[in-house]
Symmetry: D3
Subunit: 315 residues, 6 copies
């Protein structure tokens, strides 16, 4: 895998050196050494080098941090810390990394990205987000979180057909409800509370919320639905497990050209952005024009790095 990195690096925005879940126990040391080798030998160009270390209560985390900060700290942008349970986890890593950075005479601080994978982490998410100026973002880890909560889904993210509400039964001729007739079932979003609270916690502290992985790689339709929910609720991205998902993510996390055009139309109609107007039967004012700016500014940031997208927006 290490051998392929020089070819892959220039093609992606972020290269994640994963040392945690997915790496068998027997390969933990080799994975760490491989990452050091990459950090020392590969020219990353504009690509950021991130790593996901092992969880802080594992036997590997301390040496992951000592080794990586000491050996390739000048190459690492972000350390993903898995299974963060509370601010104390970030405080500990913060201080240890500070001392390792000082010893290695690094001048640029390495940032942290926390993975939200336990019930206790969700209960503490606001404090986690505010635990250090190193905090860059948080990602929802739906598989670990579901297991920790005792949710009875074995899917990695996405919905579950058993989570649903049903309509009332029809009333039969004799005035009693007939409960055995088929009724409308409405499937529900397992992740609404978690995602909404995570987004609020991130925005409160000025860091970035991400959705995590979607395990059913074959079902790109459901993946798109899941990613779009995250996008709509305020997430800025998601983790792709497969190239097929990269296309889905690119599509979802870029606003649609027609949405950008409509947002721009409202902005234009609002003049200096204060006051209130009626447009297409809808009231627009200082508040709703801010929503439009969210969409247009995201489109502009993405278009600056993607000429095709820029063209689609007419920028």
């Amino acid at each position: 895998m290490v051998a392929k990195v020089p070819d892959i690096a220039p093609t992606v925005d972020i290269l994640l050196g994963n040392l945690e879940d997915g790496v068998p126990v027997a390969d933990k040391l080799a994975a760490r050494e491989g990452l050091v080798h990459v950090g020392r030998t590969v020219d990353m160009g504009e690509t950021q080098l991130w790593t996901r270390i092992n969880s802080l209560d594992s036997p590997w985390a301390l040496d992951d941090l000592i080794t990586l900060v000491t050996e390739i700290g000048d190459q690492l942008e972000v350390i993903m810390i898995p299974k963060v349970e509370g601010p104390e986890d970030i405080h500990y890593a913060d201080r240890l990394v500070s001392q390792l950075e000082a010893r290695a005479t690094l001048s640029r601080p390495i940032l942290f990205h926390a993975l939200l994978e336990t019930a206790r982490g969700v209960a503490n998410v606001e404090a986690i987000c505010g635990a250090s100026p190193r905090m860059q973002g948080i990602s929802l880890g739906p598989a670990d979180l579901a297991a920790n909560r005792g949710m009875k889904t074995t899917r990695v993210g996405g919905g579950h057909p058993d989570y649903a509400v049903i309509g009332d039964p029809p009333t039969g001729e004799d005035g009693t409800p007939d409960i055995h007739v088929d009724r409308a079932r409405h499937q529900q979003d397992l992740w609404h509370y978690t995602t909404a609270r995570m987004v609020d916690a991130c925005v409160t502290h000025g860091i970035l919320p991400f959705y995590g992985p979607f395990g059913d790689i074959a079902d790109t339709v459901a993946c798109e639905v899941q990613f779009r929910n995250a996008y709509l609720l305020g997430c800025v991205g998601a983790w792709s497990l497969h190239p097929k998902q990269i296309d889905v993510a690119k599509k979802v996390f870029s606003p649609r050209p027609e949405d950008v055009a409509q947002a721009q139309r409202v902005i234009d109609a609002m003049g200096d952005g204060t006051g209130a107007i009626m447009l297409d039967g809808k009231m627009e004012d200082d508040a709703s024009v801010k929503q439009c700016h969210v969409v247009v500014e995201l489109a502009k940031r993405l278009a600056a790095r993607d000429p095709d997208l820029a063209a689609s927006y007419g920028f």
Copy 2:
């Protein structure tokens, strides 16, 4: 607008002098002066005079408070404070208003109504509700909140077709799922977490939760659905942007006659309200009779001010 107030005032319960969003920058001072003129000259009768001042971090808020409390503090019932982020905002306004009231020798305390319009406000909503005995209620401000969270909706409240879950794909003849077949999509409520947590925070501190505005004035059907969700989750009202919405709100926030009748039937059957009975195949006890009282008492309060409603309830 000021000229019309003497005619409008007697027809509404609350007259809101808005100085914030919707008032262009150039009109800020005129709006404030207009409100002072109204407060000094118009006989408000039974109608309450409220104001929405500019946000505390704007260049106008301090003078809004100094002027309004000093000039028409004896007329103002409630000050709506927009974009409240935490209890410190209420503490500050509380103390400043206390000193202004003392200087103006006012004897009745002016109350506060906070607008929940930022992610940080939601994360702090319990503390905001409990920050002062002046707190009268909180309203959800969905447009500002969506923009602040980075939600990619440009609608002012209500749902969004992109927030949905889909069912599992059907399995084809060869046993593999066919992901491209059309599947049931179930749209989700963008505001469930926010509304539910806001209601709990308000009830915890004995103040009133309101839903805010619904921007698509033409779509009164969707407006009714949105208002009804808020009503069902515990809100006591919503903000109407247009006379068409006033009718919707009146309809939604008054219980239906058949619901009142059924609630009264349970209450009657429960005698002294303790113990447990079976009615129509449902268990009713000390707890469920309290739910029925919520409905009947609301109906009685509303009926006391609205003869038509009273008639519809048979009171």
Copy 3:
């Protein structure tokens, strides 16, 4: 009722001596004495004896605790405390019970199960769960909670047809939306936020989350849907008001044989549980295998006490 206990006790896991809601005021003392009689005279065998005392702010709670701990403290496993509002309620009961246990020279601590029945309780749920090592679990009490929140449902748990979102209106030929056409309505889960936050609070403190009662005893279909939602979100059980619901609960809170088999298949494929594989087009790794263990371990615990279930799982 007391007379029937010797026959019932051997047939259930838990016998709950209820002193609170459902017991008329006039019967409060008799109910307490009846429970003392049961505790002193009935051979409970393997069956646990629990009690639900009256709420701590009622005129009966102090004497409920003094009497029950003093008289039958050696028989009581768990005291359910209704309408818990914050950790202070648990602290008070904890200390009082400690002193009563000491006076009665009991050597085994009596545990607590809190009922979540108020908005303030939900706002404090994390602190309630962590308030004492006696805490064994929490149950959602949907009827009291709905009444306390001012939710306008009179149902004891379950959904409500009025809580729904609707799709966008179709656009007519002239390009304007036609709001009066019938649109898809998608009913929503009233309890998503409450259940999800309660589960997180429990898991954070290592105690057990339960859904509470479902009042519409006739509608076993809706009961099953409600119980299944709780099961899926992480609850370990629910309260049955009627024998018909016991069968529903047993069915819902035991994983389906096919789910157990599939979970076992993933576990088997994952070897030592580390690393990552593809199975049926889905990625499985250290995290998702934990989800599978949740299901399989639950199946094993249940099968150990139920030969039919064991057979269905092929254990």
Copy 4:
């Protein structure tokens, strides 16, 4: 002892029914019953009836509270709670007493006086003082506190000759210090920190600080010095163990006539109490005149109940 109460009661301001230290284990129940007998049969006139119950972690405290509040709650003014360690002790007693008062249909709340007798109590003294509106005051318990802290004094309050600082040694003729020459030793106050912090905590919460007992009954001179220190630092009284100490306490805790006269002189010179003047070479202003009011108002309160004192002040 109980037999003598009718004679003693009219001669004192407060009659303290002590159930704790000083009562041998074998007499605990008799002491409690004796106090109930007194409360029920003795006409207390203007004299307040207080009790010091056993400590909350003793086997007697719960029954002390249940019995006393139930039987003579209408006679009890203040319950002294010994060995209070933190606000949780007050919270527990507060709630238990509230429920006992309600059951006994008492309409006047019984107050609490906490004894500061442990290191943890001192570390939490601010929170203890603010733990309940029942809090009436705090007394320093120097013997228990010294033992709990591991202070190596076996005296009950007062100073200790071993706590002293010494001056520098004189320098001999050869320029080196001669450490063996006798030097000035200056004894120090063992209780300065404790008393000062306790006074601040009490004043912060509007309750009364007391010094506690002085054990060396024969040494009335040292007793007076100790009481005067407490008086000067802000305490309002002390506990007398013997009639000889009552005279000392009366003398110390009443300001001297010459101090009252001088304070009045400053007050007179200050006119409306604002501004600044020079008097006897000292600056007096709005602040120092408040100090004078402390002395004069105390004198007036005491004089109102003591004609001799009034005469000595010339009131």
Copy 5:
């Protein structure tokens, strides 16, 4: 007084415009206007302009702040806030001043100096010191503090002969103590706890502790003793009420030449400041050399502005 300012200003480091205690009620407005006149017309040169406003709960504080920041905010260095009780006082003043500064387009933040004059202030002193980056220092206000605590001294700062400990009585020939013999009395420092805790709070937050005024202007000897205690415990200055006290303060708050010389001698002997040596029979190491630097650096700072002092130190 205002007329004299142009002459006085160049001769002092700080000119304090006092609006609070010492200013009679009738002169409050004139004092404020006088200060505005000074701020607008007098060339302060290197001299800092400070003001002590009226206390925040007085009828003047709000207008003091509005007027002074608006009119002469560009001239004011520090606002002394009297009778600060907790961090909420600083938070309020901080925010109000921020908005007034913004409105007045001031670019340099005005600093705060809090007066510690209440028991509650002492109990909250750490939080007060850390309440805002505007916090520049704290001064002890002994007169108000004594009155608020109910200390029975009417002196403005300094000691009191009644606060003392006495030695044990001698034992007579018959082996019993003779308590009536004259014994050594050792007067105690009334302010030890208060000053020590205040210094720790200031140093914790990087701000400056000051002792306050000494009222007995004639007794310069006692004034010197009091100031020296403050100096020794860590204060950086004191407030002089009279020119005679200025000389005392200058003398006390400048280290003695012999102390500076000895400190320098230790520094020189310690080389790079690490390790340990013996000097004059005393151990000196990394820690004690820091103490010496405290003295020498203070001497250097003072000498830089005072040639006589520089000469006395031999700099």
Copy 6:
């Protein structure tokens, strides 16, 4: 120094491997290696091996911990952590040491002893003491603390002649005070507040308070006075810088035989330890007998290890 250890070790209770103050920068690594050598090669017998590492914000602390725990963690009893400022310092060291212990497969936890050497540490001392179950004790570090506070003493512990109060001046014949007459000066204890609060914090959390070093090695008289103050206020020991001080410490921290005899006499007179008696004109009760037990139990613990002491006590 390392060479002498085998001879010294058997003669002391604790051998402290100091890496911090007193070790020049150039010798830091050699000192650490020397300590490793000692830990690996010297048979410590009953003697405990402690170390004082460099402060956590120094460039050496991280490697001190990694090296010592990894190399000689099985030999180390206690790590002294200098300049602890708050609980976060202990949390960090606790977690790092936990992971190092796990990696080194140590089964006995290494304890911590914190040095109180900064104003911020004193302000946080209660939280520091309770920050970890590893906390074994705290020592006052008077030199660093004085420097950090800006106290103008250059002495390492002990008193200072400049900290004193003076009596009032005599009044001359003309009735005016004569301030120039010599008056009684009473030197004060610089460390009263610090020591008293530290003792309370330690006892609150069940750990041991120590006084620190006394720098004037020649002045054993003043050293004894300082140590005795600490002993009296509750400290259990002090740090000796020189063999002469070891004798002083042994003498001071063992109770005097006559004090032990008197304490035993009170205990004997009190029978079962409850109730109250008069002895030599002093009241003794449940509380004062606890003080006597403090002295007698200390004597017994010390006598168990020192036959001479046992003989002097008559045990």
